[in-house]
């Protein structure tokens, strides 16, 4: 099949579609008035729910920060609070940027560039988030334990002897897999951007 044949098949399909028209005025107007739940809205919804949970946890830690009475617990507390606030804000900001793209004024090229850049940044944040969340597991557990039970987990070496190796193995495999996925997607995104810039 060569390009000419592709064109022939395409125009034959176009003719057939012309004869198969199905839309009614009611159906069209229903589509314009009823915002169908798109996947993008679903993602934003879940991200928002996640962000609310993170913010509530951050507020809880903030309110109880005076209970963290050593420098290392305080450092863990600050990292946990920063993580719980910054990451959702950055993710929601980028999702908002994708959503706000002007699809009427922007050309196809501008949309592709905008979308690809936002997508790459979103993936970067997600990837950084994966790595940081491992640190979060180490930091939020002692903070939580101190605030809830007034126990300093750093003084209980047994827990860390079991906990640390398990987390290290998990981190090793998970980050390798995450990096591979990320690399594949960003490579193709970079190729498109490069192509558009030439």
């Amino acid at each position: 099949m060569d390009l000419e044949e592709i064109q022939t098949v395409w125009s034959e399909m176009s003719d057939q579609l012309e004869q198969q028209k199905k839309l009614t005025n009611e159906l069209i107007m229903k589509m314009t008035q009823e915002r169908y739940s798109t996947k993008f809205d679903k993602i934003t919804f879940y991200e928002t729910i996640g962000a609310v949970i993170c913010f509530l946890a951050a507020i809880y830690f903030l309110v109880n920060i005076n209970k963290l009475d050593t420098w290392y617990l305080l450092a863990c507390g600050i990292f946990t609070i920063a993580f719980l606030i910054l990451l959702p804000v950055l993710t929601l900001g980028l999702l908002g940027r994708i959503k706000r793209m002007n699809i009427v004024k922007n050309s196809y090229k501008e949309t592709i560039v905008g979308y690809t850049k936002a997508k790459t940044q979103l993936l970067l944040i997600q990837r950084v988030g994966i790595y940081l969340s491992f640190i979060l597991v180490f930091t939020c557990l002692p903070v939580f334990s101190k605030i809830m039970n007034n126990k300093d987990l750093f003084l209980q070496t047994k827990i860390w002897l079991i906990y640390l190796p398990i987390m290290a193995i998990f981190l090793f495999f998970f980050s390798r897999w995450g990096y591979k996925c990320y690399k594949n997607i960003t490579n193709s995104a970079e190729n498109i951007l490069k192509e558009l810039e030439t």
Binding site: Q16, K22, N25, K39, I103, S107, Y115
Partner: protein, 162 residues
Amino acid sequence: MGKEESFTGIIKENEGVIFKITTIYTRNEQDQKDLYQEIVYQLWKSFDSFRNESKISTWMYRVALNTAINQLNKGKKHSNTTGIDQVVLRQTENYDTEFENRLKIVYQHIHQLNILEKGLILLLLEGRKYQEISEITGLSETNVGTRISRIKQKLKSRIIKN
């Protein structure tokens, strides 16, 4: 003629075009339906701004293609191979299996192109002139020509390989 009346008229006239765009940018029936609805929704939203512009087709292709890009891979995984069967063409009483197979091959070739190339080949197959393709895509006319020749080469080499 009222706003709703002229809008529904335009959509009815171009429902096949929207269908073809949704087929190119999606891999399964559900995604295709979602995209179709989103395109109509976005066209309606931008209908007022279009009224002052000259060409319906330029406005429509631009909004539809941009919406398709915006809807791409919204965080979900989809199959790379299935789906085409269900979305190739709405079946008619005179269902032609041979034509359907040829159409599947056409879509397979188009699906292998990147997002920019997909848009360009679609506009080319739709019979749009380079000038209009340039207006829709934001590429210069010369650039459109160069890229289309590259796509032709790409398709040719793939077709020969197969």
